[in-house]
Amino acid sequence: MVNLTIDGKTVAAPKGTNVLEAAKLVGIRVPNFCYHQDLSWEGSCRMCLVAIEGRPKLVPSCCEEVKDGMNVQFERPDAREARKSQLEFLLVNHPLDCPICDQAGECKLQDYYMEHGGYDSKMPRDLKVHKRKVVDLGERIVLDKERCVLCSRCVRFCREVSGSHALQFFTRGVTTEIGTENNQPIVGDDYIGNVVDICPVGALTSKDFRFKQRVWFLKSAESVCNSCSTGCNIRVDHKDGVTYRYVPRRNEDVNKSWMCDYGRDSYRREIEDRVPAPMVREGAALREATWDEALDLVAARTQAAGPDAVAIVGSPRQTNETSWITRGYAREVVKTPHFDSRVDGSHTKTALLADNLLRRQDPHPNNAGLAALGMIATGGGPDVGGILDACMAGKIKVLHLLGTEILTHRHDTARVHDALRKVPFVVLHAHHNVPGLDELAHVVFADAGHLEQQGTYVNALGRVQRAQIAYPPVGAARPAAAVLSQLAARLGTKLPEGAGSALFDAMAKSEPAFAGLTWDGLGKHGQPLPGAQPLTVGS
C-alpha cells in the first residue's frame, strides 16, 4: 500500500493505481472522459488535471501512479480553473444537440458542464467546425462525429478488448474525427455494443435503443444475463414492465465492464411473444385457463398416474431456488425415479469458451447450479435420453418439463416430438411461445421470466450471483417455484414458499454446496461457491 494525501485527506492506495482511483477512495470524483477502469491509460481529455506538490505543472491524475508521500491538491483554484477551461475547449465545437441526443441524461459532458458553470459560450455559433452526423456504422452503431470529444475510449476498446481495430482516429487538428475506414459498417465484432456504453458523450449511440426512451424515465434493476453460462452482471433498464436495454454492470471477477452483443440483444426474449396466462388443452388447441383449473388438472393427473409413471425434467434456465424446489417436488412429493435436468447436453460444455472473451458454449445460465444441487446425474448417457426412451415405450403418463429447452435446444427435434406425442399428459412451464408448444403440451404454465423473479444463478466459474426483480410478471405468469409449491400443497405436502431471497437463505441452510452463503452476503457481485475452484475470466 502507498500512502498519500489528497486535499488534506490521507489515502492508502494499492501500488500501481493512479491518483484518480485513489481519489475515489476518499470520495473525490475527478472529472474525466478518456479514463476507463478496464482500458489502458491515455490522458487525452485533460479533464482530470490536478496539482501535485513539487511538480511545476498540473498533472493528469489518470496517468499518474500513486507514490509515497505524494501531496495531491484537487480543489486548488488553478487546477479547477484549468479543468473548467479544458471543458470549454471540448465544448467549442460541440453541437447543441441535447434535445435529440440519446446520451442526454447520462452524459458526462452535460454533468461537468452543469458542475463547472461557464454557461455562456464565447464561441460564435456560426464559427463551429461541423462534421458528419448520423453515420450508419452497421447493425448496431450510429456515429455522430460532431459530438465526439476524441477521448479514444472506443478506439482503445477495439484495440485492447475486442481486437477488431474497427474504430480509428482520422485526420488531424480541429478536423480530427472518429470513424471506420471509408465509413464502412462494422462487421465481425461481437462486442461492439460496448463502445456505446463507454462513450462518455452521445457520439456513439445504439441503433437498437436509439430514440426508444429518454434515459431519465427508465428504472434500473441489478441482474445477471442468462444467455450463457458466463453470467455477465447486467443492469436492466425498464419502464412500465417493459425492458428497454441491458447494460453491463462492472464485476471485476466475471465480465469486467463488458458483455457480448448476443447477450445484449437477449432482452427481447423477455418481451416478445410471451405466454401471458396458463393454458389447457381442449381438443386440438390450447385455450386460456385459470391457475386453479390448470393446477387442479395437473395435480389430479399426477396423483392418478402414480410415482413410476411421472417424469420430471428440470431446467438449466431456472434459478437455483426454483431448481431446489423442483428437486423437492420430484423426490419428496411425487417420489418419481424419472428425474433429470440434462435437457440438451449443455452441462458438458459449461466451462468452454465460445469466443476469446466472455461467451461460453453452454447457452444456459445455471447448469453449474443444477450440478451443485445434485440434479445432474453422472453416468447414464449425456442427456434425458433415458426419459425420452421411457416416453417412447409408453411408460410415462405425465411428463412435467420445467422449461422449453427440450423443444428448442436439441438437435434431434423429431425424436423429442415423437416421444412427447406418446405421452398422454405433457406439462410445460413456458416463458415464451416455442415451435411445437401448441401441438405437444396439454397444460402450459405461464412462467415468469428471469427479470420478474428474485433468484440466484451459478455461473461457469462457480460463482453464485443474484438477479433482482425488475418488475412483476407479465399477465398472469407466475414463477415456477411458486407453481410447484402450490401443486405440492394440492398433493398433500408442503414445500417452502416465498421470495427468492428467503428461498435462497433456506436452501443455503440445508444444502452443503451452498453452506455459509446468505442472500445479503452475496452482495452485488456474487460469491464463489464454497469449495469451488477459484477461476478467472477466460479460463
Binding site: 434535445p99 435529440i100 442526454a104 452526423k133 430514440f211 426508444k212 429518454r214 431519465w216
Partner: protein, 212 residues
Amino acid sequence: MSDTTSNVVYTPIPRPKSRIPLRPEALAPVAPPPPKAGVTPKHAPASERPSYFLTVMGLVVTIKNFFRSAASRKADPTIQYPEERRQYSPRFRGIHQLTKRQDGTLKCVACFMCATACPAECIMIEAGEHPNKQYEKYPVRFDIDMLRCVMCGLCVDACPEEAIIMTQDYEMSATTREQTVYPIALLADRKQLETTPAGYRPRYEPGPPLVR
C-alpha cells in the same frame, strides 16, 4: 455548499420571560355564553333589530340593470355564444398546437421535454428516425390526452424548439373518450387553427414570423 451549512449548529433563541405576572382570573375557566334566541325579540334595542334598507338598495341595483340591459344590448354582459365570441388575452392557454418549419415538417424533435415537465402526464410521444438526416429525430406519435391536461402551459415553457404552443381555441367537447386524445393530425392540422389566434407561447414581440 451543503458541507459548510451542515457544520452550523442551530441553537434556539431563548424566549424572554414575561414581566407581566399572570392574573389568577385569567386562568379561571370561561363561562359559556348565554344560549342564543332563535328569533330576535321585538322588544330588542333598535341596534339589534334587522334593517331592510340595504336589502332594498341591492334590489334597486338588480332591477336597474335588468331594465338597462333590456333597453340596450351593449350593456348586456351576456354574449350570444357561438355566434358571438369573447376577446381573450394573447396569453390565453387553450388547446395546444404543434408548429411547423417553413418546409411544412413538424418542428418537434421528440426530445420528451414537454412530457417530462408535464405535471398531469398527459403527453405521450413515440420518437423515430427522420427520413431527412438533417432533422434526425421526429415524433412518430404525439398524443395529448385533453381529459388529463390541466392547461398549465409548462410544456410550452419546456420546449426548446418552440414546437408546442397554445392557441386561443377552447372548444374541445367530444362524445367519446377516445376523441379527447389529440393526435398529431389534430394538434398540427385541425381546421380551427385557421381562424383562432395563437395563445400562450414563448415569444410575443415581433421577430421572425412564427410559422403556424
